[in-house]
């Protein structure tokens, strides 16, 4: 059973601990600072926290038993002389780290290797516990990368990184918007994946183009890596061939729109979502915050409500703000209105830890 949860918020990083059967906030770090995401490396227990200081830049910190220390943040290379690149708004695209949006540990055979996804779309890798970072140029220089567009933000960004537990060189990432990208050589070469997804926000000739897909969140089942789940801007999609092709899951009440998805570590057919009214509203339907759960690969869904606010709740749960523990039994979700709930029975019931935190960006069991 996990005993610790890290909560990244607009105004600090909060540690929530399980004490005598109850979850309580026990530590507040970086108070006042915007913490975009954290990672606890399951291989060695090191923690990483990404901070976004606005025009003062992006910083990265690492926690060991000695406390937090600032380490290098991923840095983009200079643009080639005479080269200019423009974003979808026709503004010059700065080659600089606008936000750290994803952190993932490498495989068990790669101690100290950390992957990092950023806005405006650069993927980085560290092989020395975050002391230094190398941009994955094969992806950044891929001609199709320039077709990525803003989705979750004005700039495109990498928000999901899945390292194959069978082979650490096989990594699948997702960009919003830019679809799924796969490497089987640790980033030296990349291919687009994600046939079968559907985008409504582009002209019809692009609807099924994998690069036009606004994947909100991608997860891979550790025990059955062929199974991937996607919460997409236009619905829920599931793959049984490592993201090569997807099938859409239709008819899920109250909605198939949302941001996060988590998959059970051993049961590939079991996944959880947080539905909302789709994009022009982005609030829970009827003011009821619910979690949906499938145990049969998307054929049917439970709507889980016990312990969650069911009246005038306008909580949004961002893509990194739903977490599942290693055991597959504990869930935690944090909302934009500062609510934090934990379930210890796979979502059947929830307990409110607090509803007064700053807006929550990321929730991670540690």
């Amino acid at each position: 059973m996990s005993e610790t949860i890290l909560i990244s918020t607009r105004k600090g990083l909060f540690t929530v601990s399980r004490m005598a059967g109850k979850w309580e906030i026990t530590t507040a770090d970086f108070l006042g600072d915007n913490v975009s995401i954290t990672l606890t490396d399951w291989r060695d227990g090191r923690r990483y926290a990404a901070l976004d200081h606005g025009h003062f830049g992006v910083k990265l910190h690492r926690w060991t038993k000695m406390g937090w220390e600032e380490i290098a943040a991923p840095a983009y290379p200079p643009k080639p002389d005479g080269y200019e690149e423009y974003d979808m708004w026709n503004r010059p695209l700065n080659w600089s780290t606008a936000r750290i949006w994803a952190l993932a540990a490498g495989g068990p055979d790669e101690p100290g290797l950390i992957w990092c996804g950023t806005l405006p779309g650069g993927l980085f890798r560290s092989t020395d516990y975050g002391q230094s970072w190398q941009m994955i140029r094969a992806l950044w220089d891929h001609p199709k990368r320039k077709q990525w567009m803003g989705g979750g933000a004005d700039l495109p960004g990498i928000h999901s990184i899945c390292v194959d537990p069978r082979d650490s060189k096989r990594v699948c990432i997702a960009a919003s918007t830019g679809g799924l990208w796969f490497t089987d050589d640790s980033g030296a070469s990349w291919t687009q994946r994600g046939e079968g997804m559907r985008a409504e926000h582009v002209p019809p000739e692009l609807t099924h183009d994998p690069i036009a897909q606004d994947v909100h969140c991608l997860v891979q089942c550790p025990a059955a890596p062929h199974r991937m789940w996607v919460q997409h801007h236009n619905g829920i999609f599931v793959s049984s061939d490592e993201g090569k092709t997807f099938s859409e899951i239709n008819g899920v009440e109250p909605s198939t729109f949302g941001f996060p998805v988590v998959v059970h570590p051993r049961e590939a057919d079991t996944a959880w979502f947080v539905p909302e009214i789709k994009d022009e509203k982005r609030i829970p339907r009827d003011g009821r915050l619910v979690v949906t759960r499938t145990r049969d690969g998307g054929k049917s869904f439970d709507v889980l409500t016990q312990g969650l606010p069911q009246s005038h709740a306008y909580d949004i749960v961002y893509r990194h703000a739903l977490a599942l523990s290693e055991s597959g039994d504990q869930l935690a979700l944090g909302s934009t209105t500062g609510g934090l709930w934990v379930s210890e029975d796979q979502g059947d019931s929830w307990m409110c830890v607090t509803h007064t935190l700053p807006p929550i960006y990321s929730v991670r069991f540690s």
């Binding site: 989705g151 979750g152 933000a153 002209p203 692009l206």
Partner: protein, 35 residues
């Protein structure tokens, strides 16, 4: 908003100089940002 002409996002949002042919298709979409 995002504007596509023949499947391509327009580049010149200030002076609107992107070429539109007689048979071009034009799509105007709500921006996705904010998620």
């Amino acid at each position: 908003m995002t504007i596509f002409v023949d499947g391509q996002i327009i580049r010149d949002r200030a002076r609107l100089t992107d070429v539109v042919g007689e048979t071009s298709s034009i799509y105007v979409f709500q921006a996705l940002s904010g998620g």
